[in-house]
């Protein structure tokens, strides 16, 4: 809790964030370089899927980050509504578009992967559909937080929405699974490959780490921008 209070002051957060972004950026570039090398060059092509398996190294971490991003949004929203944590709103504004982008990257790479593997860009499979719905939840959150002339009202309405969305996500996921098993019991999605081999798993974890660092740094930078924007608006209002 002490850390949360320490960072509650936007100016202090800004100094902290500016101090860490440099080294974080360095680490991100390094991890991305290693991860991309391992994923695109070192990893062997899959015996069933050939070279297209390399799409997975972006696709899977994006899916993880899209989901983790909504979790972060829910935590930030909770601390905004409960403690009125001043930074939480700004960080939620920073995080939502990043999470939405990762959801979009997951959907797009999934479509590009699906075309050679299943012969189609899109199937109404349970997992694809729940990721699409997650993307819609993100869009709703972004739209709602920007829908008010008074920015703080938008923050708090969007925070309520994020909490409701987080409660409903498991229900949505469950019902979409149910819906899909009703409609197509024998799914084309069953890849049925072997359990993940270390030659695949290690690059995947590197890419997951690198993209997580990218996620963190983008959120920090966007939060700084939001702080600056609020300051400008406050200066405009007083001038």
């Amino acid at each position: 809790m002490a850390d949360l209070h320490f960072l509650a002051n936007p100016a202090r957060f800004r100094r902290f964030s500016q101090r860490v972004t440099g080294s974080l950026a360095f680490a991100t570039v390094l991890a991305l370089a290693v991860g991309l090398y391992l994923a695109l060059i070192a990893a062997p092509p899959d015996y069933q899927q050939g070279e297209t398996v390399r799409i997975m190294f972006v696709h899977v971490p994006s899916a993880w980050l899209a989901m983790a991003g909504y979790g972060l949004l829910a935590v930030l929203s909770g601390s905004l509504l409960v403690w009125r944590h001043p930074l939480a709103a700004l960080m939620a504004r920073g995080a939502a578009p990043v999470g939405a982008t990762f959801a979009a990257v997951c959907l797009i790479t999934g479509a590009l992967w699906g075309r050679p593997m299943w012969g189609t860009y899109w199937v109404w499979d349970a997992r694809l559909t729940s990721m699409l719905l997650l993307f819609f939840l993100y869009l709703g959150h972004i739209a709602l937080s920007n829908a008010y002339d008074h920015a703080e009202r938008g923050d708090r309405a969007a925070a309520l929405l994020a909490l409701i969305g987080a409660i409903n996500l498991p229900v949505i996921k469950f019902s979409v699974d149910w819906w899909n098993t009703l409609h197509q019991p024998a799914s084309v999605m069953k890849l049925g490959g072997p359990a993940i081999h270390p030659t695949i798993l290690v690059p995947l974890l590197w890419m997951a780490g690198a993209l997580s660092l990218l996620f963190v740094i983008l959120v920090l930078l966007r939060t700084e921008t939001e702080i600056d924007r609020r300051r400008l608006e406050a200066a405009d209002a007083t001038a």
């Binding site: 509504l81 819609f136 739209a143 309405a157 409903n168 229900v171 949505i172 149910w178």
Partner: protein, 221 residues
Amino acid sequence: MTGFGALLARDVRLVLRRPGDVAVVLAFFVVATALFPLGIGPETNLLARIAPGVLWCAALFASMLSLDRLFASDYEDGSLDLLLLAPWPLELAALAKCAAHWIVTGLPLALLAPLLGLTFGLDPLALAALTATLLVGTPTLSLIGGLAAALTLGARKSGALLALLALPLCVPTLIFGAGAVEATVSGQGFGVHLAVLAALALMALATTPWAMAAALRQAGE
């Protein structure tokens, strides 16, 4: 509870004094449903196959239509401020308004749906399933929609935004509602679906009034 009853009666009475508002929603339901055979073709088997989904989607859109006025008129004329100051819980007030919305839209939609289902060639058992699931499912739509209405109160372009917020949250209800009718058509019972729909309605009943009240307090600040 007298406050709940009074607010419910007031809202229903307000709508009934202008029955045109309800008629427009029902007319939208009928016209939107009638467009599907025109767009897809009059083949009976195909229509019976898609009828559950079409009718449920049309009902979902129709119940979203009137929602943007749910709190807006009270917000503009100051009644909402009085509700905020009232000595009984705002949660109950929000619930009363949603109940009124259900009585004037959800209920007529559920009663009208079997007539439309008939034109799609659904058999009597499927029509019963359609009516039953709409009766159990539309309260959830009113509650989720009411939450979206409270969240978008005072926002720019609130109508489209409301649909964007509410529709993803309505997905479970849509799946189990349309799934029940489909299960009936294919010879299975719809008891399980109905039970899940009831569970969804109870969950919405237990969670949305608090969120609605919180959103209304934000709007009142």
